[in-house]
């Protein structure tokens, strides 16, 4: 099975062949995977070098001429480093783009904090208009990338990761998917957190919702899943609490409780592997089982 990033390269290469409005901007990360696309479309595949302010500025300029830019690098260099460019060269100019990240929170633990950006989705929440996709499987990544590329002049963020689920969910962009029915509360798993959530809740009487698109937040989908108890557990593969406000807003007229699980804010000065980091953050199946049970029972 391919990785999400490999699928991104294959899908984008195909999209560039068929949609003359699309352009891809890179900043040295991922260049090899796009060599065939660059050879076929030298004017629409641009590598600006290790220049991330220019990466986003160039995307904004392309969009000003009516094109639909796709910009890609690691989340830390796509969202955090050129943050003002995201704010001004895209949103404030009133233009759209598709930003596709990799290695968001803990994909390369041995690389340490410099290559981790668990605040990316929370940062985008400070700006209007963003659609945020967090696929949990390469098939979902393909569905969401194709949707984002064709979604007019919208602002779209697609967060790819090495961490993934074993099986894809047939996702509908923008909608939460109900995977299990229960009566003691709702557990919302985002993207690659699904397998651990399914394992953790296997013997629990809970509803499991799945989100591969987190913004806009499918408030109606959450409301529809609520039974007698408006108790919600969020399990997100980025900063803990990122979607807590959205969940509270969705349930504002109900007495309700929200437990927001995700990557802690504190610096975690260890290297190692993805499973080791998930365990340390309390996000593996064993830890999730205990934390969810403690909240719902």
């Amino acid at each position: 099975m391919d990785t999400m990033r490999e699928r991104f390269a294959a899908v984008t290469t195909d999209l560039l062949d068929h949609d003359p409005r699309l352009a891809l901007v890179l900043a040295d990360i991922g260049v090899d995977a796009f060599a065939p696309a660059a050879a076929r479309h030298p004017d629409r595949v641009v590598n600006v070098g290790i220049r991330e302010q220019l990466l986003i500025g160039t995307a904004g300029g392309l969009a000003l001429t009516g094109m639909r830019p796709i910009a890609h690098t690691f989340a830390s260099f796509l969202i955090e480093r050129p943050w003002e460019q995201v704010k001004l060269d895209l949103v404030h100019q009133g233009v759209g783009a598709v930003l596709v990240s990799a290695a968001g929170s803990y994909d390369w633990p041995a690389g340490g904090r410099t290559h981790m950006a668990h605040g990316d989705v929370a940062l985008l929440d400070t700006l209007p208009g963003w659609t945020v996709h967090v696929p949990g499987h390469p098939d979902e990544a393909e569905t969401l990338l194709r949707h984002a590329a064709a979604d007019g002049d919208s602002l779209a963020y697609v967060r790819l990761s090495a961490h993934r689920n074993e099986h894809p969910v047939p996702v509908v962009p923008g909608r939460f998917t109900r995977l299990r029915e229960g009566s003691r509360g709702v557990v919302l798993a985002v993207g690659p957190m699904l397998d651990a959530v399914l394992a953790a809740t296997e013997t629990m009487d809970v509803t499991v919702l799945y989100a591969a698109t987190v913004r806009p937040f499918d408030a109606a989908g959450l409301r529809a899943a609520i039974g007698e108890r408006a108790d919600v557990v969020l399990v997100e593969p980025y900063l803990a609490g990122t979607s807590a406000t959205a969940a509270h807003d969705a349930l504002a007229d109900l007495p309700h409780r929200v437990l927001a699980l995700g990557v802690p804010k504190e610096e975690h000065r260890h290297f190692g592997s993805i499973p080791e980091h998930l365990a340390a953050y309390g996000l593996d199946a064993t830890a999730l089982r205990a934390r969810i049970a403690d909240f719902l029972w």
């Binding site: 220049r51 220019l54 160039t58 300029g61 000003l64 094109m67």
Partner: protein
């Protein structure tokens, strides 16, 4: 069918009066007018864009990166008919389209929203690439920066890339009023030239010199015109 540009009753000598509608003062210091001559020569003699062609895909683009002190820019846009002069007195007021930094969604004729320094040149790189990718190899992309704005590192990302890439439809006019805190030893043009740009350094008050520099051929290379004016600190 041809469309004729309606006669606009404003010339260069009217610009101080138009600016006075915003500032309330007929006399403007060098800082307020540092861009005025370059803007006028561009809009009067170089840019192929009019109010009638402002939405055409093959128009020339002018990106005001140095969004600070936009009175000269608004005055030129009004003089050339992009926006009515009657709007100028509203400058900076709540319902006015004319902020102290331009907003492209509000100002007729403004290609970008600017104010935070160092954004125009990277946006211009993307604009030049976007036009080229659509087969539009004729329209010129111009961006105006200031010598202090040039401190921002984002400019240097764009200058190096555009030179290496040979983005020959990209043009910079750099207004040098000696306002950069640490200066540019050897002059601003050297920074562009080192990255393979065609460069000219001229008197930023001399319209014919500006015009010659703006229209100098520069095959295969982006082009930078450094327009030197009185130091900002001069009275």
């Amino acid at each position: 069918m041809t469309t004729e540009t309606p006669a606009v009753p404003y010339g260069f000598l009217d610009l101080p009066r138009l600016m006075a509608l915003m500032t309330g003062d007929e006399k403007h210091g060098p800082a307020a007018t540092s861009t005025l001559d370059a803007l006028w020569v561009l809009y009067d003699r170089v840019l192929r864009v009019t109010p009638e062609t402002a939405d055409r895909q093959d128009r020339d683009r002018f990106l005001l990166s140095k969004g600070h002190g936009p009175m000269a820019y608004y005055a030129v846009l009004a003089a050339k008919g992009f926006l009515p002069a009657e709007l100028l007195p509203s400058f900076g007021s709540y319902d006015s389209p004319l902020g102290h930094h331009p907003d492209r969604l509000l100002v007729p004729g403004a290609e970008i929203s600017s104010g935070s320094l160092g954004h125009g040149l990277p946006l211009a790189v993307g604009t030049a690439l976007g036009l080229r990718a659509q087969g539009l190899t004729d329209p010129a992309v111009w961006v105006l920066i200031g010598d202090a704005e040039f401190d921002e590192g984002s400019n240097h990302e764009a200058v190096a890339f555009a030179g290496a890439y040979g983005l020959d439809r990209l043009h910079v006019v750099a207004i040098d009023n000696s306002s950069a805190t640490h200066g540019w030893r050897g002059g601003m043009a050297a920074r562009f030239a080192a990255e393979g740009w065609s460069t000219e350094t001229v008197d930023g008050r001399d319209h014919d010199a500006l015009h010659r520099a703006f229209t100098a051929p520069h095959p295969g290379r982006p082009h930078a015109v450094v327009a030197r004016v009185e130091p900002k600190t001069a009275a």
